[in-house]
Symmetry: C6
Subunit: 74 residues, 6 copies
């Protein structure tokens, strides 16, 4: 896979949160490498409350990592 | 998305908890960008015990991050 | 919401555990604000083994935070 | 509830693991206070692989806390 | 239960990973003490993708603990 | 099992993410040792949104460990 992650440093917490989102999606993309399939699955979970909560949880775990990497932007 | 997260610092633990709630919701909102759909899904999980527990878990993970960012408000 | 969390410090580990329980419940209460609905859902999960395990997991995550905040009461 | 948790310190990692088990069970017991109901639910999850994995996960989270509290028994 | 955990220290990361596996299995074994029942449940989850992912998650949590205990084998 | 994990150190965050993926897969492979069975289960979860989210979560947990082991590549 081409370079997509060269640093965990971000300028703001919000950019860190968006990096956490990217990490969560990459975790899916490495397992299901077909963008077409991922797109097909999207409506299934984007309209299911529990699926969204589960997705939000993965973001939360990655945000812990990114926040620690940035010294919590203090 | 407009700026919504400029700092993880809060004045009190309770404000930190409320920031954790915001982070959990934003994790959903970035995936399901339609506020109308999110509103439609709300009754589905707000009246389901396991869905509420799962939502509470995401808050708990974010609260770990926010609490660490604030030196546990000691 | 009225003040309910002014500190993560507790005198004993057991009080810390009980604070973790409160935090887990508050995570639910902020999402389902009706105490009447929460009460109605209670039997559903209090008699389901997996629901109880999930609830216990949220407490475990919060207890990590509270324990760290208290220097593990050493 | 009577005193059941006065310290997170244990002499050995194994005692720490057993304390983690106790913490996981207490997380259930505070929610389902009836020992009779908990006993009735036991066969349900003790013979279900996923339920056992979920229970093992809660122990794992508490063991992180207990291990940190003991400086990893180094 | 006989002594099975006297230290979290391992010589290599791989031994640490294998210790994490042991911890995950012990979390199950303390709840379902019958080896015969555990053996009977094995095919159920060893051929179910989600069950395997859940089991892998418990290992991941324990590996965090073991890795920290070993200073990440740096 | 042959040596597959000699260090948690990686040169870049992306290599660290890929190591986290390997760790997640190894957690499965130790439980389901048959590569043939794992291959057979693959379509089941690779086309299920929630299964992919769960897999991504295990990667997220391991990435926390790997990132910490590498001082967040700062």
């Amino acid at each position: 896979m081409a370079d997509w992650l060269t640093s965990l440093q971000t300028e703001t917490p919000q950019q860190g949160f968006e990096l956490a989102l990217l990490l969560a999606r990459k975790g899916v993309a490495y397992t299901q490498t077909s963008a077409e399939v991922r797109e097909r699955l999207r409506p299934e979970y984007a309209e299911n409350a529990d699926s969204l909560t589960m997705a939000s949880q993965v973001v939360a775990i990655h945000f812990q990592t990114v926040a620690a990497a940035n010294g919590y932007w203090r």
